[in-house]
Every structure is written in structure tokens, then in C-alpha cells.
Symmetry: C2
Subunit: 154 residues, 2 copies
DNA sequence: GGATATTCAGACAAGATTGTTTTATATTGT
DNA sequence: ACAATATAAAACAATCTTGTCTGAATATCC
């Protein structure tokens, strides 16, 4: 309804990384297996996040990806600005290129307060909060945890 | 950020139709010109809305499309359920296939109230309200009204 | 009633974008 | 040197958007 697959994978991966000990790099391969997503595709996404200064990446043996900052410093908005592009927060529901308070589409003043709720949510929600939720065991990060039962997926 | 181009065109077109006298059918060609959108694509969208019982369509001379009900009966939600599909309202932010109160992703309980705001907006907003807003002259339905100044578009 | 112009309907395909996979290359620790 | 790993680039596939063409239906004109 809202996010591209790329963004969904990015958020899932970073939440998973935030649940892991921050000292050692996490392998792309491991993340992909845990989430049940295609590893090469995820690698591309992580590389992009590294370019956007959200992750460190280390090559070679003992390499992998690390969060650049603590999970309490990284919000969903930080991630989505990289994966969806900077225009992410500015868009008009009807797709008009120009839609501001002055030149508004008929939905503008109804949509703005709702959009603010979305943006607030994305800016308030840190990786740390989400990681803790996952660690509590009450919430799941993927449809098929640990990629068991792959053959039964719909 | 939220809607596909198809949905955006559909909403724009129906708002425009709601501003027109309901007695005579509106031509796809005229709507497309007014909104500055590709006519063949719009035609398919309108055909789909006709199949979904939101529009009447008439072939031949004096043909065109008509709203099936008054603009006060048609909400944005009615339109989007046709253009985005019935799963539109149920989706999980992280893209999980299963994400309910029982099997929740870590964003679920933060997202649900925001999603409710969106759904409420879509269900409250009728074509009639939007058509009146446009008729007041204070709001615009397309980036380039009447497709004037096409050559200056960005 | 038949010819004609107008308009929607539907098939098909081109182009753009996004998502996915494959292959090759560079870097690092042992 | 070797093995493990990220990086890069390219190939492939799917989906979304747009365009073209042909056919079918309908009102109007003669």
C-alpha cells in the first residue's frame, strides 16, 4: 500500500541487524536467509544503504555489514529517504507535481494532516524500538522465520 | 507515495466527471485532454471502472462515460478498491503476508492507527465534495489545466 | 433503411520502471 | 597463496505505463 519491496527489505534487514551484537559484522547471506529474501537483491540494497552512510561495509574474510550508528539514532525515515528517494515526503495524493498550500489539489488539505501522521510515525520509530520488539519474541520480522518450511509457502 | 498512477488518473477523471452535467455522457478524449493524461491509458482505466459498476459506458455517437450513481454516493475508497485491488486496505507496512493482531510485525501496532486515518479519509471523501472544491476555482485537478502551456512543462 | 461519423471495446506491442538473478572482480584475514 | 566476502556490472524477468490498431455499437443524416 505504501512502500516498495526494496524499502520493505531494507527495513527488515536493518531491524534484524539491530538485534545482533554490534561488534561483529553481519553477513548479507545470513540476513537474507533469516528473512527469506533473495540474497543478491538484498546485497544491492545494503550496498546502497552503505553509500548513504547508514551502514559500514567490510570486504574480505570477517567482512560484512554494520550499523553506522546505534539503533537508537536510526529512524525509519532515515532508511526510507534512501530507498524511496528524497521526494518521498513531498508527494501529492493525486500525483500533481505542484501541490502546496497555494496551488492545492482538492484533496490537499484533507491529506496533509494524515500525511503528517505518517511522517511522525516514521520519524519517531527507531531501529532500537523495533529490535527490542522483535527480541521480545512477540513480533515477527518475516513470513517464514529462518526460512523453514520454504516448500509450504503460498 | 501511496497511489499508483492508475489510481491517480482514475480519481482525477471521476472528480472531473462529477463536475460535469450528469445528463450527457463525458468523452474519454475530453477527460484526457482536460487532465493532460494519455487517452489510451485513461480509456482502459475507465473501462475497468465501468466493469466495476462505478460507471456507465455508451458506445457510438453521443456515447461516453457517466457516473453510475450521484457523486455523493461515490467515495475515494470505492474507486481505489477497483484500481488498487481488494487487498488495498489490508497490507502490512513491511510486506508480510500474515500480519494481524495475533501474528504482528514489529510495526503493526504503530501502523494500524495511522492506517485507520487513511482509510477514514478515503471513506469520508466523496466525489461530490471534491467536485465542489474544484468548481469553487480554488483547487486544481491537474498540473496543466486544459493542457495550455504544454511546452513549458517540466 | 442504409451510409457514415463517432465512440467505446479489446488485442497487441513498445517503452519504462522495478525486481531478481547471474557473473565477474576487488579486498581482506589466515 | 587461498578462501571468504563485499562490490560492480550486466543480464533477465515481471510489472506498469503508454501507444497503435481493428472491430463493434450507436445516433444522425440522407
Amino acid at each position: 500500500m505504501i512502500l516498495s519491496r526494496t524499502s520493505q527489505y531494507a527495513v527488515q534487514a536493518l531491524i534484524y541487524m539491530a538485534t545482533q551484537p554490534s561488534a561483529t559484522p553481519v553477513l548479507n547471506k545470513d540476513i537474507a536467509a533469516k528473512l527469506g529474501v533473495p540474497a543478491p537483491y538484498l546485497a544491492k540494497i545494503l550496498q546502497n544503504l552503505a553509500k548513504g552512510n547508514l551502514l559500514f561495509s567490510f570486504r574480505g574474510r570477517l567482512g560484512g555489514f554494520c550499523l553506522r550508528e546505534g539503533g537508537d539514532k536510526i529512524t525509519l525515515m532515515h532508511i526510507l529517504l534512501l530507498t524511496e528517494g528524497p521526494a518521498f515526503t513531498q508527494s501529492c495524493l493525486l500525483g500533481l507535481k505542484e501541490c502546496s498550500d497555494e496551488t492545492a489539489c482538492p484533496l490537499h488539505f484533507r491529506w496533509v494532516p494524515v500525511k503528517k501522521k505518517i511522517i511522525d510515525l516514521l520519524q519517531e520509530t527507531t531501529l532500537e524500538k523495533l529490535a527490542k520488539a522483535v527480541e521480545s519474541g512477540k513480533y515477527r520480522l518475516a513470513d517464514v522465520p529462518g526460512q523453514l518450511f520454504e516448500q509450504f509457502k503460498v
